[in-house]
Every structure is written in C-alpha cells, then in structure tokens.
C-alpha cells in the first residue's frame, strides 16, 4: 500500500476548494427551494427561513467539502514503476488506474491560478483508449509533474 507517493501537501487545499465549488451551489438551491416550499405550503415567514437555512446549510456543505477534500487527499496517491504509472483516487468509491508507459500517446501539464500559487500542477495522460482516453492526476508538485512526464513519454512506443 505504501509504495504510493502522496500528492503535494498543499493539494488538500485544491481538493477542498474543488469539493466546495461542487457542494455550494446545490446547498444554496436547497435553501431557496425549501424556503419557497415552506412559504407556499406552510405559510411560514420566508425571511426567517432564509436566515436560518441560509446560514446553516451552506456552512454544513462547506464543512462536508472540507472533510471530503482532506479525505480525498489522504487516499490519493501515485506510483511510478518500470511498468508505468498507477494512480489511486476516491473516498467512497475507490479506484486505482494503471497506464503502461508504452501506451502513453501524449501528456499535458496544466496549472491554474491556484495551482501556480500553491506550486502545484496537473498531469493529464492521453492513451488511445476509449473510456480511459485521458487520465488526470491533479495536485502534484510542479517539478514532480515534469519528472513524471519525462519518465512516461519518450520510452519505447507501441501505442497500438
């Protein structure tokens, strides 16, 4: 299990932010929906509902995202060996993906604004496959991403 290298420690912030961006809109939608429903069906005061729900639900969503991002960071990892690259990901639904070196068609490294600030990079590996035609590994140390790319590309090629 421990042959896997962890992501960059700062990656947990990236993962938390991503989880937060996913969790927040539905929670706000839930607040609005519940308020409208309560006002229409129960004749409740919308202002009070908005105040309570609007405070608690998004906060709960953010807390969940905080925990989820951290958990995802703890479970994530990658391992480069002579066969290829293995990537481990997922909190509830765990998955482990393997790409052989010879199967890599090309790679991308990209850095968003937050990545640049935290010194992170995302490695994207393209194969000739269909479902796994592109495999992403986010939250790498920027230098390590370049190393992985160099290790994966430029070996023997029999991509098909």
């Amino acid at each position: 299990m421990d042959e896997f290298e962890p992501l960059h420690p700062h990656a947990r912030w990236l993962l938390r932010l991503r989880a937060g961006l996913i969790a927040l809109p539905p929670s706000i939608g839930l607040v609005v929906g519940a308020t409208l429903l309560a006002a229409a069906r129960l004749g409740a005061d919308p202002k009070q509902w908005i105040m309570w729900l609007g405070l608690t639900l998004p906060l709960a969503a953010l807390a969940l995202a905080w925990w989820y991002g951290g958990a995802r960071y703890r479970h994530a990892g990658y391992s480069l060996d002579e066969a290829g690259l293995r990537i481990r990901d997922g909190v509830f639904f765990r998955r482990e993906t393997h790409v052989a070196r010879a199967r890599v068609q090309h790679t991308d490294i990209n850095q968003g604004p937050l990545d640049r600030k935290l010194g992170l990079a995302e490695l994207k590996i393209y194969t000739a496959g269909t479902r796994l035609a592109s495999i992403e590994l986010a939250g790498l140390p920027a230098a390590r991403a370049a190393e992985l790319r160099d290790a994966l590309v430029g070996g023997a090629d029999d991509a098909l």
Partner: protein, 507 residues
C-alpha cells in the same frame, strides 16, 4: 436484382502502379455532384417536411432555399478544384482547402480500415465513395474521398493492402492465420438467413424511433397534430361501430400486435437492404466484408488490427440457434456510423463462429476456456444496485401519481431474478494472452481482448465492495465508440481482481 452483382475483386495491380507513378490526382470529375447531393441530404428531411407540411405562403423561404443550394454547389465545385492527392513513399498526401490550405500525410501502413461504398447512383457513374480510417479517434474518417473512379478506388485499396504486407505488419498475431493463396470466402448469407436476421434484430424499432425523432424535431406541432389526427380518426371509427368494452381491449391488443408485426417486417426489409449478398472473405491476414442491396458497401479490416472480439447471443438468437460476431479496430469512426460496422459475422450458427474464431486466433483456445466464477455475493450486489435504481425511479412517480407510483416496486422480484441468473451465468477469464468476460442472462455476450491490446486498466470498489471483499475492473482498449460498452470484469473476489490488475499491469 441486377444492382447487386458484387464489386469486382480489388487486384488491379496495374492501376495501382499508375496511381503511384502519377504525381498528383484529382477526385473523379463528377465528384462535385456527389458532394452536393450528400450535403443536400443532410438538409433533405427538414426541407421536405417544410415543403409538405409548412404553413405555406412563405415564398422567400423557397428563394432562400435556392440561394442555399447554389452556395452549396459552388462549395462542392471549389472542393473538387482544390482537392488533390498523391501517393508518395508509402504515404497518402492530400492537399485541400481554398483559403485555409491543408496538407495531410497519412502513412498507408497506418490505415486501419478501408471502406468502399457504392449506391446505385455511384454505380451509374462508375465511381465509389472511399473512406480511409486510421487510429485517430473522433467521428471523422482520416480521409474521405467523395468520390473516386472505380479503378482509382480499387487501386488505392490494393496499395493499402500492399503497403501493409511489405511493412510486415501482419507478423504479430495476424500471421497465425493460414497464408493461403488468394481470397477465400468464409461466409455468405442466403435469403433465408437474412429473414432470420431481420426477425432477430430490432432494427425496425430503431429505424421507427429514429424517424419519429427526426419528424418531431423537424416540426413539433406538425408531428403532434398528425398523431392526434390519426388517433381521433381511429377512435371515431371505433365509436361508430359501437363496441363493447372488451371489444375495445381486444382491438387495442390487435393493434399493438399489428404494430409489432410491422416492426418485424420492417426489420426484415432493413436486413435485406443492408445485408443482401453478404460475403465475408479472407485474403491473407485481411478480412473483407461486402454487402448491400442498393448501396453496396465493401470494407477491409486487417486481422492484426482487431482490438476486441464480441460475440452476441440474444434470446431470439438462441431460439434460432444463431450468434453474431463483431470486432472492433482502432478506427473509432465507423462504430457510430451508418457507413459500416464491425459486425463481420451478422448471423451464423455457433459452431461456425467457433471455427472462425479458433482459426483467426488459434492460441486463444476457444471455445473451451478457463472461465472463472464471480464473488459469491455478486448477485446480492447486483440486486442491491437494481433496488436503488427502482427506488430512485419510484420517488418522482409517487410525487406525480401518488400511491400508484409504488407499482414500480413490482420490478423488484424481476431485479432479484435477473441478479441471480446473471451472477450464476457470468464468468471472467484471464489467460497468458487474453482477458475476457461472459455476461448477460437472456441476452448473452462474450467479450475477449488480447492482453497486448489493453490500453489502461482500472480497479474499482464501491463501499459495498470494500465491505464484502469484492472489486470490479475496467479494461480499456482502443476502438469502439462511446456507444459500445467497455470490457468490465464485475464483482470479482478482491484477491482475484487484484491478481488480474497486476497481471495486466505487467503486460
């Protein structure tokens, strides 16, 4: 049936030499006409609908249509004037474009698939529509030559074949096939077999659905009006006869049966249209499939480029004691295209498919393979999953229809039965060279992949799986569009799944 004589065999070596020697060639002089017709066809359905059912009176519509057609025609002629190709040092070089010039080099040895298509119009002009497909994904073929003269098309076909032989590309596994002299016919489908194919397939249903989709898209109001009109007329007619309630019911049942029968008749018609004169032949390491009543399609697939083998046996197949075999090559395009398909054996007795498969891949050892069982709780996993889906479906139904929505839960026993039967029948396979899956219950399938073809592997575990020591694998290969289900080895004991994962990792 004069239309259906087979295309002449593609061994025009002399023309191939000429094609190679010449510096640059154009498409066939009539190609602009075919490009234009092809483009017009894209808009034909909406145009026809507009003309027939449109509210009328809009004359500017018609003039706009004429302007549109003229623009298209000009474009087609321009395309003809600017499109040139040549064969140069084993490469096909295509120059095209008016303002945006484009030069494309395709190494002939990289071409995965050659598709020749001739409809009656093509035959009238002595031309063929040629598609060359390489392993690049996406919907577009690598080169679409619309259209070449019959001689040029066949010369190109021959060149692609020669280049592959000289490149020694068949050395890998394709060479295992016996290198017999020339073309050998492996399978033909007589009319009786086509009737069976039509009965088994549900192409009629698919075609009707597609037509309904197009109609309702083209003019929603019109479509609804048509359906209402028809419904009212039938209803009025029935009322006029003054029927009892049970007679109504009987009539509805009869009507449904008539519709089902009609669908089957349509299926048979489509099967005859598509597969009339079907012939599967082998020429060295290359398979050729040719079929079609009006539009004749010929495509070639090198055996060495096959990524995946898929055998299908639906319930109807089983009743007729038939199966079908399809292959996928890395050329993604054709899997989702009406131009052709990887279905190299649309219908054959199981024994014949066994023979063909063990001839093409003798080291596989088909059909006696060491299939292995799933995790003992696999059925429970499937049943739980089905129950979740049923529950998810019940919620909106209950909101809409009240307690009647609970009727959905009648599907639970069915889900239970299916899970039990599926898990009892499903098997997975790992040999030194192959990985595979046998799945299904009423409709069964076998999916086989050479380990050397695997692009990437993924081991997956849900929370349920982790609790019960279970895991599933996704084995990804090139080819097969997004419509084709991927090879999944589901619900294996965790240790086995890990073993398969590690084995595939090492290649």
């Amino acid at each position: 049936m004069t239309h259906s004589e087979p295309l002449p065999p593609a061994d025009s070596t002399a023309t191939a030499q000429a094609l190679r020697a010449e510096h640059e060639r154009r498409l066939h002089p009539w190609s602009w006409l075919f490009v234009l017709l092809y483009q017009l066809r894209q808009y034909a359905m909406p145009l026809i609908v507009l003309l027939l059912f449109g509210r009328g009176g809009g004359e500017w519509w018609e003039s706009l249509g004429i302007v549109f057609a003229v623009v298209l025609a000009l474009g087609a002629v321009l395309r003809y004037w600017t499109y040139r190709f040549r064969i140069d040092a084993g490469e096909l070089v295509i120059r095209s474009g008016v303002l945006q010039r484009n030069v494309r080099h395709i190494p002939l040895a990289r071409i995965q698939n050659v598709v020749l298509r001739r409809n009656p119009l093509h035959r009238l002009f002595g031309v063929a529509d040629v598609r060359l497909e390489s392993a690049v994904g996406g919907k577009q073929a690598e080169a679409e030559m619309q259209v070449l003269s019959q001689a040029d098309a066949e010369a190109l076909e021959a060149l692609v074949r020669q280049s592959r032989q000289s490149a020694g590309d068949d050395s890998a596994i394709g060479a295992a096939a016996p290198a017999e002299a020339a073309r050998e016919v492996l399978l033909q489908l007589p009319l009786a077999e086509l009737l069976r194919l039509g009965l088994i397939s549900n192409r009629g249903v698919v075609a009707v659905m597609a037509a309904v989709g197009v109609l309702s898209q083209a003019s929603e109001g019109m479509f609804v009006r048509m359906v209402q009109d028809f419904g009212e007329r039938v209803f009025g007619y029935a009322q006029g006869m003054g029927l009892e309630r049970w007679q109504y019911a009987a009539m509805i049942v009869l009507l449904l049966m008539a519709v089902a029968a009609l669908m089957r008749v349509l299926s048979i018609a489509i099967a005859v249209l598509r597969f009339y004169g079907f012939e599967l032949s082998q020429d060295d390491g290359r398979l050729s499939v040719e079929a079609g009543l009006l539009t004749r399609l010929r495509q070639h697939t090198p055996l060495s480029k096959v990524q995946r083998w898929w055998i299908n046996e639906s319930l109807l197949h089983r009743w007729f004691s038939r199966r079908s075999l399809s292959v996928e090559t890395a050329a993604v395009a054709y899997a989702e295209d009406a131009h052709g398909s990887g279905e190299i054996v649309p219908l054959a007795p199981p024994r014949l498919i066994d023979e063909l498969l063990s001839r093409w891949r003798p080291r596989l050892g088909w059909p006696s393979l060491p299939w292995q069982r799933l995790h003992p709780l696999a059925w429970w996993r499937m049943f739980v999953q089905a129950s979740w889906i049923i529950t998810a479906a019940a919620i909106p139904l209950c909101v809409n229809f009240g307690a009647w929505g609970l009727l959905v839960f009648l599907a639970v026993p069915w889900g239970w039965l299916r899970a039990r039967r599926y898990a009892a029948h499903a098997r997975w396979l790992l040999t030194d060279e192959w990985v595979g899956w046998r799945g299904g219950w009423l409709n069964r399938h076998w999916c086989l992949v050479e380990r050397a073809r695997v692009q990437a592997v993924r081991l997956q575990q849900s929370p349920f799986d982790r609790r019960r020591g279970m895991a599933s694998l996704l084995v990804d290969t090139a080819g097969g569009g997004s419509l084709v289900p991927p090879l999944r080895l589901r619900y294996l004991p965790e240790a086995d799944a890990r073993r398969v994962f590690d084995a595939l990792r090492r290649g």
